[in-house]
């Protein structure tokens, strides 16, 4: 009895250690987020949300950066998502195992691991310099689209893979051709997974700061962008600018900016989860 008692306690000690390893970082993060809310809550006001950056911390606002981020989100999605889903369909439904296929696969998994700042260097040379987009919204969106693309391909492939093969065969048996089986059966069935993956990836892409800083996006933009060729700012860049200043008043602005940015991320994540549950239920 004593022996087995000894083993049980060893086992449960280890289980506790494992739980702590998971719980401590989560607790730390929640503490940090709570601390940021405490630092920035007082700065959050209507004038902060609707104002433009200013040299005076107390009257500075987030509007151009907020609108910039929303516009980036739509442009980037528009550019990367159709191509990403197309590539995923090709790899899952059409490609036969070959050297070229495995080369494309290796490529995509490698691109997903390329540091975001390297995409910034590519965007700086290709879009800003060679294609003369300048430091425009277009250049930023194109750069982020390249970064988003491998994430969309990988998550869409996973979603396509969840459709059982028998569903495709049933469609063929009814006289459907390959494209029809994809359009009428495979895509609708995998749609919840694809959409969830896209929203999470887009959230991650528009939260990026480094590529935008590298292509030279400005943080002192006092107007809301009017076209895709305008100079622009984005929330992560604006937060970076505020946190880099020595004055404590600007740090409060940064904290308030972090609250808004995290709220946008939370909304996107909630939409993704809601879509997964909602569409998943409808299909069943």
């Amino acid at each position: 009895m004593k022996d087995s008692g000894g083993w049980i306690s060893k086992e449960s000690i280890f289980q506790m250690v494992c739980l702590l390893a998971l719980a401590l970082p989560l607790l730390l993060l929640f503490t940090l987020i709570a601390g940021t809310f405490a630092d920035g809550w007082d700065r959050l006001s209507w004038s902060f949300l609707t104002g433009a950056p200013s040299r005076r911390a107390a009257s500075a606002g987030l509007l151009p950066a907020f609108v910039g981020t929303i516009m980036l989100m739509f442009l980037t999605t528009l550019m990367a998502v159709p191509v990403g889903i197309g590539a995923a369909i090709y790899l899952e439904e059409y490609a036969r195992p070959s050297r070229l296929t495995s080369f494309i696969e290796l490529n995509i998994s490698n691109l997903a691991g390329v540091p975001s700042i390297i995409y910034g260097l590519l965007g700086l040379e290709l879009f800003v310099r060679v294609m003369h987009f300048g430091r425009s919204l277009m250049a930023g969106a194109a750069t982020l689209a390249l970064l988003l693309l491998p994430m969309v391909v990988i998550s869409s492939r996973e979603a396509l893979r969840t459709v059982p093969h028998s569903m495709r065969e049933a469609c063929y048996a009814l006289g459907g051709d390959k494209w029809r089986s994809i359009r009428r059966v495979v895509l609708p069935m995998s749609l919840p997974g694809i959409l969830t993956g896209i929203i999470l990836s887009v959230a991650r892409a528009v939260g990026e700061t480094a590529p935008l800083v590298t292509i030279g996006a400005l943080s002192f933009v006092t107007f809301v962008p009017t076209s895709v060729w305008s100079d622009f700012s984005a929330m992560p860049i604006q937060i970076f600018n505020w946190v880099s200043r020595p004055q404590a008043e600007f740090h409060a602005n940064a904290a308030a900016g972090v609250i808004v940015l995290l709220s946008v991320m939370l909304v996107l994540n909630a939409v993704a989860i809601w879509l997964r549950i909602r569409l998943g239920r409808r299909l069943q």
Partner: protein, 303 residues
Amino acid sequence: MPVSEAAVQLDQARPISERLIKYVLFACGAISIATTAGIIFVLLFETIAFFRRVSFGQFFLDTQWTPLFADKHFGIWPLVAGTFLTSGIAIVTAVPLGLLAALYLSEYAKAGLRRVLKPMLEILAGIPTVVYGYFALMMVTPFLQHLVPGLSGFNALGAGLVMGVMILPIIASLSEDAIYSVPANLREAAYALGATKLSTTFQVVLPSAFSGIGAAVILGISRALGETMIVAIAAGQQPVFTLDPRVPIETMTAYIVQVSLGDTPNGTLEYQTIFAVGSLLFAFTFLLNIVAHRLRKRMAGGA
């Protein structure tokens, strides 16, 4: 016979449109190859231009990095040391915690709890890095200054620790996939031989999941090397050749940010330095990603 005529037309039309669709979809996949080619071409193009003006010796044998000063030195080692110092601190933090967290999720957590915790980890992995940078500079470093004497406002320690928290979900999630995919009959065989759960975990499950865990750790290292905002905000902008975690340093990524924030006209030597530094960073992460890809393939194929 209009009906059969139509059928014949359809039959002829189908393969063509089917083939067209296939080519369009293939083109979508091929864009990934173009992106990689674009990255390599751009980096090489500017790096070659850089090495026309600066010798390999100046780059690899000097220990001072001062391309923005009047007295220019191009020794890359201070930036490499800064990068490996912050990444090292992050890995030392994240690997043990991430692995234990993965073991908890796969071996101990009930299915319901697992279904809550895993998406939570994924959401945490999606917090923008600029936010982690804010945490490091504004909260973690001031707290650490109470514990570590002589810790300056910008330092590798705070940035590295926060970076560890940032990559922890990636390491935990990928390791958990690897541990979860260990076949149940291996565990059952160990139990049948009278092994306890703990010794099964250490002597059967972890060794079988080794490739996958290795891939997770390597991807974590690669992520840490390329991480930019945390170190740009919290680790400083002083390229010092040191492994002292208490003083301001500069990483390769932070240097690229520093130059990008200034107004550097293209074609200048300063402009080319960020591509030379970027090439080295790309080479490091590329090698690590290839190794991780191989390990994951082995995990999927073997065992």
